[in-house]
Structures are given as structure tokens and as C-alpha cells.
């Protein structure tokens, strides 16, 4: 809770006396009045400000505020307690209201509309795939890590092939998930196959992880005889009863209350499973988001809300979408435990979703995860995003902040991956894709595009995507 107060020093003194300095540091929201405390704390490492994702208009002043990541250990996933009143004996009076106990104060204090420090963002791997020291994460076995990496590569390849297919007129429409591979795969890896998934439309990676084959993806996009949807739905509207993945609908944010309802029924049936729903930053403006969050908290349903805050809703940047400090802060407003995670850090995503699931299922509570990332591709094949954002910004995020490369570096450091394994993987995906996609009618196309993908990473995607977007 941010205070707008004339006497920061008074508060500091009061707080220092009643509450230890260390627990002060555990506050998830800082205010300017804490800056004096920060100077006295020994920080292990300080991330340079340039690594803060600049996914809004660089000219926007409000986003130039400082970011103070705290690298202390937190022993468990319990949330930090908020100091929500001035514990000054003479000033506080407590009275019972229907909503609960309320502490009175004669000092008129408005809650600030925005914190002076952003809510912190959890990340475990730095930009070079190195584990940040003193970081807290859920360990991943070699098998799972390698599977995660190969799934991320498969997702990237899949996206490229189908995007090109649309450009060639072979399918009518496609939506890529480029830049969000870590969110897709890492979150799926942390869930069990019993957890019911309610996607928006940029999460085919979850289906991929669960075993949806490349052929099944192709069938749906082509709307052929083998399509489970029998040609009823537009491309990318995948669904699978067997894999507990609810069919994609074109409507925005309608899946969020659906997930809460499903979670409620899981609770009633006492199942060891939760509901998971994905949506973008734009989807959080919809009324359905607010109703769903509120209901999840009130009904204490085991649901995980994963918001892919990728900076853009078609051409609308987040600065035009909302003025709150992202999405994670809204959780508290509804009584939902929440966390902000670096969406391009597969290990952090895995840890956060793993812990969230544990809390959701065992404590019957909803959890909100805001995964900050960047939408590298266009909104869909009907969009050309260079019309409203600079091409060099897109390129920078595609190359320098690629979540797949980052994770590869980490598994290489651990000795679980190497260049031989890399070339084996690429060639096996190539041969798999060729034979699967053969049946759906994009043979030569597939070969061309896959050849591109197997070139040194720096050149490949640039060539294909650039070529595609100028069509």
C-alpha cells in the first residue's frame, strides 16, 4: 500500500521502532519514504536499469521511474505482510464494520494511484542464461529441461512454417507466439495433464507440450477431413478433450470466468487438479477479467490466471490499455495472491507456475501470474506491426531477448546440451515436419522454410519473418 503523506520521516521512525528493518525490506511495494532504508541495506547484486523491458513508448515519462529489484532470499512462497496502517497508539481506533475491522485515522491520506517503485519482477536466469546468485527456484531435471528446450524450438519452427503457409495462401489465417515460447512451454511443463487449460489464442505451446502432434496442428489449420473440429473453426482454434485443452474461441477474455467455473467444480469434486487460464494485457480490460478475479477469490477456487503482458493489443500499447502498474498489482485489489515474472525466463516461469499450482490445489486459492514479455510477431497474419512500432525495436526483442536462446545457454552450462544435440534436434524436427505436413499439402514450402530455420540463428528468422512481413 502506498502512502501519500507529508511526513515520510515520521512514518520511517514509527516503522523502524515497531517493525524490524529486515522485514521492512520484504515489502513488495516500496515508496519514496523507504529510500533512506535502502541505502543502509547491503545488496548482493544490482541489475542495471537497461535490462528493464522497454515495451512502452520510450517517450512516456511515467515509465522512466527507477526499478529496485531486491535480491534477498525468501524462504517460502508465503506473501509478505503489508503494513496497512500507522501503528501509532493515539491515532488508531478500531471499529467493527460489516466488511471487517477498520483502523481510523484523523490524517487524510489518499492511496497513490501508482507506486513510485514498480512491483518487482521475478527472474532467475540473466540475459546470458547464467543463474543469478542467491536465486530461489524450483529445480528442474535434465530430462524435463531438455524436453522444454526442444519443445520451444519446435514451437518456433511450427510458427514459422504456418506463418509462411498463410503468406503463400495455403491457409487463410495464422497467429504466431514468437517471443512467448518460454511462457507457453515452461508453464505447461509445471502443470499436470489433469489441469484444465482455458487458452486465449497465443498458447499452442501448451498443447504441444501435452502431446498434440504437428499433424493435428496442421489438420486444424487446413480444416481437412482429419480435423477434430470438422472444418467448423478458423485456423489456430485448436482444442482437445483428451489433453484437457479447451477449444480456442475468438472472443477475448471470455475464457477467464469459464476457468473459474471449472476450477470451482474441480474443488467440489475434490480433484487433485486446478484450472489454468491464459490471456493478454488487452484482455484484462474486459469486464470478464474483473468478474472472474473477484469470483475466484470469493469462491476460493483453485485457478491460476496467467497474463501474458506482451506490451501490445493489436496496435494498442499498454500505456493506452491501463494505467495501473501492470497486472500483478490488480491481484491484491481482488484478494488474489499474485506475482510478476520475467516471461522470457523459462526457469522463472516454471518455478512460479509450479509453486502457484501447489498453492492453488492445496490451499484452494486463485493465483495471478503476470508474465512480462514482448510480442515479437504481428498480432496475426492480418496485421503489419511495423505500421505502429519501430522495426528495430521488434528486431532487438527477437534477437537479444530471445527466450529460447537464453534457456539453451543455461542447459549448455549445465552440460545437458551441446552443438551436436542442437543439429540433431533441428534435423529431426525437419524430417518430422516434412512428413507430417506432407499430408496437409505444404511440402516444398515446408522444406524451404525449415532450411531457413536451420541456418545460424542470427540470419534465419530475420530472413523468413522479414520476408513475410513485407508481403
Amino acid at each position: 500500500m502506498a502512502f501519500y503523506s507529508k511526513n515520510p520521516r515520521n512514518i520511517i521512525n514509527n516503522l523502524k521502532s515497531k517493525v524490524g528493518l529486515w522485514s521492512l525490506m520484504k515489502q513488495s511495494h516500496g515508496t519514496c519514504s523507504y529510500s533512506s532504508c535502502l541505502n543502509t541495506i547491503h545488496l548482493h547484486r544490482f541489475l542495471p536499469l537497461t535490462t528493464l523491458p522497454q515495451f512502452t513508448n520510450p517517450d512516456s515519462i511515467s515509465h522512466k521511474k527507477g526499478h529496485f529489484p531486491h535480491f534477498q532470499r525468501f524462504q517460502s512462497t508465503t506473501t509478505e505482510k503489508q503494513i496497512d496502517s500507522v501503528p501509532n497508539g493515539e491515532q488508531s481506533q478500531v471499529l467493527d464494520f460489516p466488511g471487517g475491522k477498520v483502523v481510523f485515522s484523523p490524517e487524510m491520506r489518499f492511496l497513490s494511484e501508482s507506486p513510485s517503485v514498480y512491483s518487482q519482477c521475478y527472474r532467475v536466469l540473466d540475459d546470458n542464461g547464467q543463474l543469478i546468485s542467491h536465486s530461489n527456484f524450483v529445480p528442474v531435471s535434465e530430462e524435463v529441461a531438455v524436453k522444454m528446450y526442444s519443445n520451444m524450438v519446435t514451437l518456433q519452427t511450427l510458427d514459422t512454417i504456418f506463418y509462411e503457409a498463410q503468406r503463400q495462401g495455403r491457409i487463410s489465417f495464422y497467429v504466431t507466439s514468437i517471443g512467448e515460447e518460454a511462457i507457453n512451454i515452461a508453464s505447461a511443463a509445471a502443470l499436470t495433464s489433469d489441469d484444465i487449460v482455458f487458452p486465449q489464442y497465443r498458447e499452442p505451446g501448451v498443447l504441444l507440450w501435452r502431446g498434440f502432434t504437428l499433424q493435428e496442428f496442421a489438420n486444424q489449420c487446413f480444416g481437412n477431413k482429419a480435423d477434430y473440429g470438422k472444418g467448423r473453426q478458423m485456423p489456430i482454434h485448436y482444442g482437445s478433450n483428451k489433453l484437457n485443452y479447451f477449444t480456442v474461441a475468438s472472443t477475448i477474455a471470455t475464457q477467464i470466468p469459464h476457468a473459474v467455473g471449472a476450477a470451482y467444480s474441480l474443488k467440489m469434486d475434490k480433484k487433485d487438479a486446478c484450472a489454468v487460464t491464459y490471456f493478454g494485457d488487452g484482455g484484462t480490460s474486459e469486464g470478464d477479467f474483473h468478474a472472474a478475479m473477484n469470483f475466484a477469490a470469493v469462491t476460493e477456487s483453485p485457478v491460476i490466471f496467467i497474463c501474458r503482458n506482451n506490451g501490445w493489443a493489436i496496435s494498442t500499447p499498454t500505456s493506452d490499455q491501463f494505467r495501473s502498474d501492470g497486472i500483478a498489482v490488480r491481484g491484491q485489489a481482488y484478494g488474489v495472491r499474485s506475482i510478476r515474472v520475467d516471461g522470457n525466463d523459462a526457469l522463472a516461469m516454471y518455478s512460479a507456475v509450479h509453486s502457484a499450482r501447489h498453492m492453488a490445489v492445496n490451499e484452494h486459492r486463485p493465483i495471478l501470474i503476470e508474465a512480462v514479455t514482448y510480442r515479437v510477431g504481428h498480432h496475426s497474419t492480418s496485421d503489419d506491426s511495423t505500421k505502429y512500432r519501430p522495426a528495430n525495436e521488434i528486431e532487438w526483442w527477437r534477437m537479444a531477448r530471445d527466450p529460447v536462446t537464453r534457456f539453451r545457454k543455461w542447459i549448455e552450462i549445465n552440460g545437458w546440451w551441446g552443438s551436436e544435440a542442437e543439429s540433431q534436434l533441428r534435423s529431426s524436427i525437419r524430417s518430422q515436419d516434412l512428413s507430417r505436413v506432407h499430408g496437409s499439402g505444404i511440402t516444398k514450402l515446408g522444406k524451404q522454410v525449415l532450411n531457413f530455420c536451420c541456418f545460424p540463428r542470427g540470419h534465419s528468422r530475420l530472413a523468413t519473418i522479414k520476408g513475410a512481413s513485407t508481403l
Binding site: G231, R232, A249, S250, I252, A253, A313, S315, T316, F322
Partner: protein, 367 residues
């Protein structure tokens, strides 16, 4: 004084000469062609410049130049105060638009498609449509809701529904559906000038089509009356009513029928609510046969209402049962071959007209 008066006289006579000159010019040159998109864009532009209270709201209407480029150039010209890019919440921005209209502004709210208006339908019906009646005339809501309606091409069930019948059943709303560029310009201007809530149903596939327009249509004061249908083609044997894209189909059908010696009268409804019952009935009294055509679902559709109206007022003039051609009674499928079967085609309308004239084609010939 006299000199000034003489100058003024000269000026006026010049003005009188000039239109004549332009008429001469338009006789010799072909009529100007504009697309429906240009017609809508120019109508919005002119109404915004004429009345500072008019403003636009919707997703992607500003920076993106409009999801279908209808509002192209308007942000640049009028600024962000009058062209608002909204967050993704139809319920939110429709409510805000209605509130602005309560205060006296004239919002033009764009839905990316009318399918998304379902998220906002409470505000459209309960906050906008019913307010004037419920307040005994004290509250007026001069708002326009516009956007593409009905089937496009390969966009599936959640992007293809036609809402003409839904909105037209509600008292307090006016529902318009243009076909060509002249309709688009005239009806949109009328809608913006109208002091009551108007639902303006466009068609995505018609945006790119060009139609010839006269100079009168291009004039900034051009306006079409709400509640009047247009007889696109006169005939004597069968009446075909249609709106939006189906008008084009009906005209094609009438050409095909002419080769068989049947002269169809094609009525472009233009206004679904209020429905121009007098034009329809007058026509049926002349031809004695009626086909209603629409893209939307058949049950409780526009055709059902027209049929009831004709049965009520011109029953004894009917020589054949009224036929309604409508979309299939299924959510719109995506696959191209299925979609073709779910939407009326020219052949369907042609066969219905033949049936109404008791000159039906044997079933074996139908595909």
C-alpha cells in the same frame, strides 16, 4: 454602394452559371465511382467537420486508421480528443459513449464487428434505446453504433452473425443497413444527425466495392431519409426484398429472371427499423408475389417480419406463399465449402423466385 451591389449580383450570377457548367461536364463524363469505404470515411469526415460535438470511439479507430480503414486519416485531422482509441472493453466504451450522449455529445461508436456488440448490448438496449421513452422525452441519446455485420469470408461462427433482426425488434432503436456507396453516405449522415440511437450495420465484403455516385450524393449536405426503402429495379411479376450484400445478389437474380421473361422488382430496404411497410406492400399489391432475402438466421428474422406485415395488410393480393431466403439455421462454419452452403447464394434466390411464379425448376437440375 452600387458598385458593391453590382459585384454581389455578378458573384451570384457566376454562382448560378457554375452549377450549370458542372452539369454539362457531368453529362459528358462518366459518373464518379467511389467505394463504400470512401463513402463512409467521407461521411464521417464531413459530419465531424460540420458539428464539433461529433466524435469517434472504438478499438483501433485512431492510430491504426481503423480495423477496416474506415476511419483513415481522421485522427490526423481531428486529433485524439475527437478520435478515441479505446481499451478492449465493449461494455466499457459503449457505456462511456452513452454517457457522453446523455450529456449532449454525439458519439459514433465503432464495434470491430457487431458480434462484439453482444458484450455491450445491455448498454445499447437498456441505456440507449429505452432512455427516451422511460424519461418521457427528457433524455435524448444521439448516438450511432456502427461496424461490419453479418458474414464475411472464412471467419467462423463468432465473427459472422447478422444482428439486424435482434436490434430491429427493439423499440427506441433505429436500424439501418446500407448497400451501395450512396446508401452508405446518405444513411450514415442521417444516422449521425438523428437525435436517437441508431444501429448502423455495414458489411465487410462491401467495403471495397465501387459504385457510381452522382454529384448530389457527393455534396456535403446529402442525406437520405430514415425509414424509406428504395426500389432498385422496377418489375411487375415478383417482389424481392433485400438489404446489404443481398441487394447485389437480388439484382443479379433479377437479370437472370429477365431472360426467362420474369420481371422482378428489387427493393433495397435500407432501413430495417422503421421498416418501410408501405413501399413493400405497394409493391406486393402490384406483383402479387414476394421473396424476402437476408443473410441472417431464419427464425424470427427480418423476412419473418416482412411476411407477417404483408399477410396483415395485403393478404388478398398474394398469389403465392411468401418465401423467405435466409442463412442456414446453424452457427456459421469455417470451411469454405460448408460456408458456401450456410449463406444464401444467387441460385437459391433464383429458384425461390421461380417457385413463387409457379415456374419452378425440377429438383433433378439442382446441384
Amino acid at each position: 454602394m452600387l458598385a458593391i451591389a453590382r459585384q454581389r449580383m455578378l458573384g451570384q450570377s457566376f454562382k448560378k452559371i457554375l452549377p450549370a457548367v458542372s452539369v454539362l461536364r457531368s453529362y459528358s463524363s462518366a459518373a464518379k465511382q467511389i467505394t463504400v469505404r470512401e463513402a463512409l470515411n467521407s461521411a464521417l469526415d464531413e459530419e465531424m467537420s460540420a458539428d464539433p460535438k461529433v466524435f469517434l470511439m472504438g478499438e483501433e479507430v485512431g492510430e491504426y486508421q481503423g480495423a477496416y480503414k474506415i476511419t483513415k486519416g481522421l485522427l490526423e485531422k481531428y486529433g485524439p480528443e475527437r478520435v478515441l482509441d479505446t481499451p478492449i472493453t465493449e461494455a466499457g466504451f459503449t457505456g462511456i459513449g452513452v454517457g457522453a450522449a446523455y450529456y449532449g455529445l454525439k458519439p459514433v461508436v465503432e464495434f470491430m464487428t457487431f458480434n462484439f456488440s453482444m458484450q455491450a448490448i445491455d448498454h445499447i438496449i437498456n441505456s440507449a434505446a429505452k432512455s427516451n421513452y422511460m424519461s418521457a422525452g427528457q433524455i435524448s441519446v444521439p448516438i450511432v453504433f456502427r461496424g461490419p455485420n453479418g458474414a464475411a469470408a472464412g471467419v467462423g461462427a463468432q465473427h459472422s452473425q447478422c444482428y439486424a433482426a435482434w436490434y430491429a425488434s427493439c423499440p427506441g432503436l433505429k436500424v439501418l443497413s446500407p448497400y451501395n456507396s450512396e446508401d452508405a453516405r446518405g444513411l450514415l449522415k442521417a444516422a449521425i444527425r438523428d437525435p436517437d440511437p441508431v444501429v448502423f450495420l455495414e458489411n465487410e465484403l462491401l467495403y471495397g466495392e465501387s459504385f457510381p455516385v452522382s454529384d448530389e450524393v457527393l455534396d456535403s449536405s446529402f442525406c437520405l431519409p430514415i425509414g424509406k426503402a428504395k426500389i432498385e429495379r422496377e418489375g411487375k411479376d415478383v417482389t424481392i426484398t433485400a438489404f446489404s450484400k443481398m441487394v447485389g445478389y437480388a439484382l443479379k437474380v433479377s437479370e437472370m429472371l429477365e431472360r426467362d421473361g420474369i420481371y422482378a422488382e428489387v427493393i433495397n430496404l435500407r432501413s430495417i427499423r422503421p421498416l418501410d411497410r408501405s413501399t413493400i406492400n405497394t409493391s406486393v399489391r402490384k406483383t402479387n408475389r414476394l421473396i424476402t432475402v437476408e443473410e441472417g438466421f431464419p427464425q424470427h428474422g427480418v423476412g419473418a417480419e416482412i411476411c407477417a406485415s404483408v399477410v396483415e395488410e395485403s393478404f388478398s393480393y398474394l398469389d403465392a406463399p411468401v418465401e423467405r431466403i435466409a442463412g442456414a439455421d446453424v452457427p456459421m462454419p469455417y470451411a469454405a465449402n460448408l460456408e458456401r452452403m450456410a449463406v444464401p447464394q444467387v441460385e437459391d434466390i433464383f429458384r425461390a423466385a421461380k417457385r413463387a411464379c409457379y415456374r419452378s425448376v425440377p429438383l433433378a437440375a439442382t446441384a
